[in-house]
């Protein structure tokens, strides 16, 4: 057996992040404590920038999708697009995390694990066979388990980490079982070969393949926190350190959904009659559950967690459409969604640091007037989530709905619209609280206002820029998404 040719360029985004991770880990030992936080954050940020640049280069240098590394890795624009989103999310997450009061002896590890998680995500979206798929998935999941629990002094953080570990492992196990069944039935690991075998042996209705497909869907549903596999989401999002939640809500969901689309259209085109319906049903359940449960949340992080469940539903609509327009819609949707999600959690983090307690609808009363930048930014993020014009969220929903209509899923379109209508109530509740209610007495932080966190505010501002900018610059973004989605075999 000959050694495979290694196309280092194809996996350069992952490698850049791994390098950053290694350097921050070294820094945790060799850099003196006073400079450690700055050093780690800068190295992590540079890692994310490098990964984004490499992914951009891979995007421009890959007009044709090719399989690399013994056909286990796909070098294509679809993956590169998702990697750029992950790198951007990671960079902003570093900005949101920087001011967080973490224990000095963990700060190096924090950024090391963050970059390692992102490296796993960048690897996952490129995977072209079942082994690399599972490898990438576990790689970033294990990193995230640690990240959730990294504030070892806070019970809620430990609880979140443990919960995520248990439920996440269960999800991974289900996924692995599904992968094993598919491998057992087809005898192939590569996505394209699986499709070919199913075609050749007429396995489209084979029980093992179908059970495997169902389990793969469920396993990815766990990671994307789509209902009914979302049980861990509110608790983990609430308990985990807010910057970690911000990163998870944007990047984890993005890669899980992007990968789901890739697996479904590459490996299971023969079963598309079945999985489009299954995905559509999961989308409807997510929309209903996420939106209705979010209505009654007083805690902002929990509310945003349920909101993220409902957005998984919207993005699943794009997957269920099973056409190129759907692929385009999914990729475009990721941009404003990730930006708004990171930004909203960034605002929550800012308020949390100001108050030193959990952020609820009650204690953000009047915040819009006290903190104009954060207030306006939160306004924009909520409008984007709710799909109002002047934000990218509107265009994203428009594309998703258009994709659903194009496939003939008009009922899915209606479900999406009803979900949007319900979601207005809780998104606008945030705005109502920030601008239309007066602060209750006694919430002012002792000792006056904390210092302005320029980095955090800058990150939130950047998120706002992306959220609004993606509304006006639809054409260039959709061109990129179109090029990326065109490399999937719809």
């Amino acid at each position: 057996m000959t050694k495979p040719v290694v196309d280092w360029f194809a996996i350069s985004p992952s490698l850049a992040l791994l390098a950053a991770s290694g350097l921050t880990l070294l820094g945790a030992v060799f850099v003196p404590v006073v400079a450690r936080k700055l050093y780690s954050a800068v190295v992590a940020a540079l890692g994310f920038i490098a990964a984004g640049v490499w992914a951009g280069l891979v995007f421009s240098e890959s007009p044709e999708a090719t399989l690399e590394l013994a056909d286990t890795i796909s070098r294509d624009r679809f993956a590169a697009f998702a990697q750029i989103v992950v790198a951007g999310a990671g960079l902003l997450a570093v900005g949101i995390a920087y001011g967080q009061r973490t224990r000095a002896d963990h700060v190096g590890e924090y950024y090391a694990v963050l970059t390692a998680a992102a490296a796993g995500m960048a690897f996952l979206v490129q995977s072209a066979d079942l082994m690399t798929l599972f490898l990438g998935l576990e790689w970033f999941s294990i990193s995230l388990y640690i990240l959730c629990a990294i504030e070892v002094d806070a019970v809620s953080s430990l609880e979140a980490g443990l919960k995520y570990l248990i439920v996440g492992s269960f999800g991974s196990a289900v996924l692995l079982f599904g992968l094993a069944l598919v491998y057992g039935a087809t005898g192939e690991l590569g996505f394209a070969e699986i499709a070919a075998q199913i075609e050749r042996q007429g396995l489209a209705d084979d029980g093992l393949v179908l059970a495997g497909l169902g389990m793969i869907l469920a396993g990815l549903g766990f990671k994307a926190s789509a209902a009914p596999f979302h049980m861990w989401t509110p608790d983990v999002y609430e308990g985990a350190p807010t910057p970690v939640t911000a990163f998870m809500s944007a990047a984890t969901k993005a890669v899980a959904l992007v990968l789901a689309l890739r697996v479904l259209v590459t490996a299971f085109p023969a079963e598309d009659e079945l999985w489009t319906i299954a995905v559509a049903v999961i989308a409807c359940v997510s929309l209903a559950w996420g939106n209705i449960a979010a209505l009654v949340q007083g805690n902002l992080k929990r509310m945003l967690a349920y909101s993220s469940v409902s957005h998984a539903g919207f993005m699943l609509i794009a997957i269920a459409a099973d056409n190129e327009l759907g692929g385009r819609a999914l990729l475009y949707y990721l941009i404003p969604y990730s930006a708004a999600s990171l930004g909203a959690f960034g605002v929550v983090a800012a308020r949390e640091r100001e108050l030193g307690e959990r952020v609820t609808l009650d204690n953000i009363a009047g915040m819009g007037w006290e903190r104009p930048l954060l207030g306006v930014a939160m306004w924009v993020f909520m409008l984007s989530f709710a799909g109002f014009p002047l934000t990218g969220g509107f265009v994203g929903k428009f594309y998703v709905f258009a994709a659903a209509y194009d496939t003939g899923f008009w009922w899915l379109l209606l479900a999406g619209v009803i979900g949007t209508a319900i979601s207005l109530y809780y998104y606008l509740a945030v705005v109502r609280s920030m601008y239309m209610r007066m602060p209750a007495v006694g919430l002012a932080p002792a000792g006056g206002s904390p210092p302005r966190e320029v980095i955090l505010q800058g990150s939130v501002f950047a998120c706002m820029g992306v959220t609004i900018g993606s509304f006006f610059a639809v054409q260039p973004l959709i061109d990129l998404a179109e090029k990326a989605a065109a490399q999937l075999p719809f």
Binding site: P389, V395, I478
Partner: protein, 470 residues
């Protein structure tokens, strides 16, 4: 230059809004800048009016591809009737801004920025030549309105805004479904291209949005709260300007692009409008306060306009456009007058008002003038509009015209009741003893509105002779 005119009309106020928000101006500075921008906007409109070639169809149009793969573009331009509606909008918005400036509002920078932003969004609605762009502006109106009512409104503002938003968005989202269905079926979202669809469901999606916005009976649940709880000038804008987006939508999208469904559902829509007309008029007659009368009269008037639109003939369309312009100015003036009254008596309840004419000749004159034009006395602009509407709908069945004519009588009843309850009779318990007539600033806001109305009364053909419905 000409092709930029519409874009300037839309983005001059939005740009000014950004300036007001971002520059650290004083309250007075923000207000002055906003007023200046609103007046400049009126100037730009007059410029557009002088350059406009009636009979030439779409003008000043400007097109820029927004996302090409689905055929969506930024395409704006003015038709003859949109020109008139834009004119009404900029005048009423300038009056509302001036009123707020002289009354003084807390957090002035946010407030005036939102008013300017709203102006741009409404003009955008009237100027859109692309379905999705129309939706964008239609929704963008909601954002500033939500805050304007929710922050600067009265005690019940929170529930009022909630109702308003839920009603409006339910309708709008159905319209979004229709827009997607129509645009993808046609392969383009451009409205300047003539195309027709005979799908009644898509038509109903548009009707839902416009029926809530107008509002049409029985979708008017949000109206009384929103008009009562918002500040006077925002109520003026809501009922005078924003509701016209619905009439415009019917006239510009729903009727011309869906001839068959419009014809099929004509009886239903006429019946709803007639019901709203009678219901609104009766409730206005029974309303216990100034704002209540104006709010429900607004429901009645929008219903009358809808009757004109769904007469589906040129008389009806002309009457509806004229009446939209009239009602915008009348309703704007009346709500501002209601604000003036409330500032003096601290209440709008008829039980505690009365006898305000004594020592307040200017207030009495203006309220009488506005009220008399509103009740469509022969010779007034509103009379011309209502006459055309009735003439139009008479062709579709004399019964509709009878309902419309009866409503004119009802309008006389509620308007005269309003006038006499405020101005005449015993001095109300809340009416202060000092006379406190209108101040010059208040006159400067309301007199121009009434001046426009008197001009239109003298020459209604200025609008109606310059309309073409291909």
């Amino acid at each position: 230059m000409n092709e930029w005119l519409t874009t300037i009309l839309i983005f001059l106020p939005i740009g000014a809004a950004l300036v007001v928000w971002l520059l650290p101006l004083s309250d007075r500075g923000a207000g002055s800048l906003a007023l200046l921008a609103a007046l400049a906007e009126v100037g730009v409109w007059i410029n557009a009016l002088t350059r406009f070639e009636f009979e030439d169809g779409l003008q000043f149009d400007h097109r820029y591809t927004w996302f090409g793969d689905l055929g969506v573009s930024y395409h704006v331009g003015l038709l003859d009737f949109s020109l008139w509606l834009v004119g009404m909008t900029v005048v009423v918005m300038a009056a509302a801004t001036a009123y707020a400036f002289w009354t003084g509002r807390e957090r002035a920078r946010a407030y005036f920025g939102l008013m300017l932003f709203l102006t741009g969004a409404v003009v955008g609605v009237f100027a859109s030549q692309d379905l999705l762009l129309f939706y964008v502006f239609f929704e963008a109106m909601l954002i500033p309105l939500y805050v304007l009512v929710g922050v600067w409104g009265g005690a019940g503002r929170l529930s009022a805004t909630l109702k308003f938003v839920i009603y409006t968005m339910a309708g709008s989202l159905l319209m979004l479904v229709s827009i997607i269905a129509l645009g993808l079926t046609e392969g383009t979202f451009d409205l300047s291209r003539p195309f027709t669809s005979d799908n009644p469901l898509i038509f109903l999606g548009f009707v839902a949005a416009f029926a809530v916005k107008a509002p049409l009976f029985p979708l008017h649940g949000w109206l009384p709260d929103a008009y009562r709880e918002s500040s006077a000038e925002v109520a003026a804008v809501l009922s005078g300007v924003v509701s016209k987006a619905a009439g415009f939508g019917f006239l510009f999208i729903a009727i011309p692009h869906f001839p068959e469904p419009a014809r099929d559902l004509q009886p239903l829509l006429l019946a709803l409008a007639a019901a709203g007309l009678v219901y609104g008029s009766i409730v206005a007659f029974r309303a216990p306060d100034v704002r209540g009368v104006i709010a429900y009269s607004s429901l009645a008037q929008m219903s009358l306009i809808t009757i004109g639109l769904f007469a589906l003939n040129d008389f009806g369309f002309e009457g509806a456009v004229l009446q939209m312009v009239n009602h915008g100015l009348i309703s704007g003036a009346l709500f501002l007058l209601a604000g003036v009254i409330e500032r003096r008596a601290a209440t709008g309840d008829f039980a505690r008002l009365g006898g305000m004419a004594r020592g307040r000749p200017a207030l009495a004159t203006l309220l009488m003038t506005a009220g008399i034009i509103a009740l469509a006395v022969p010779g007034s602009a509103a009379f011309a509009g209502e006459f055309l509407i009735l003439a139009g709908v008479f062709d579709e069945g004399w019964g509709w015209a009878v309902v419309g004519a009866a409503a004119i009588v009802l309008a006389a009843m509620y308007m005269l009741r309003l006038i006499s309850a405020v101005l005449h009779g015993q001095t109300g318990s809340s009416v202060p003893d000092e006379a406190l007539d209108l101040r010059p600033a208040e006159l400067a806001v309301i007199v121009p509105l009434l001046g426009c109305l008197l001009a239109l009364s003298a020459w209604p053909a200025a609008v109606t002779d310059h309309l073409n419905f291909g």
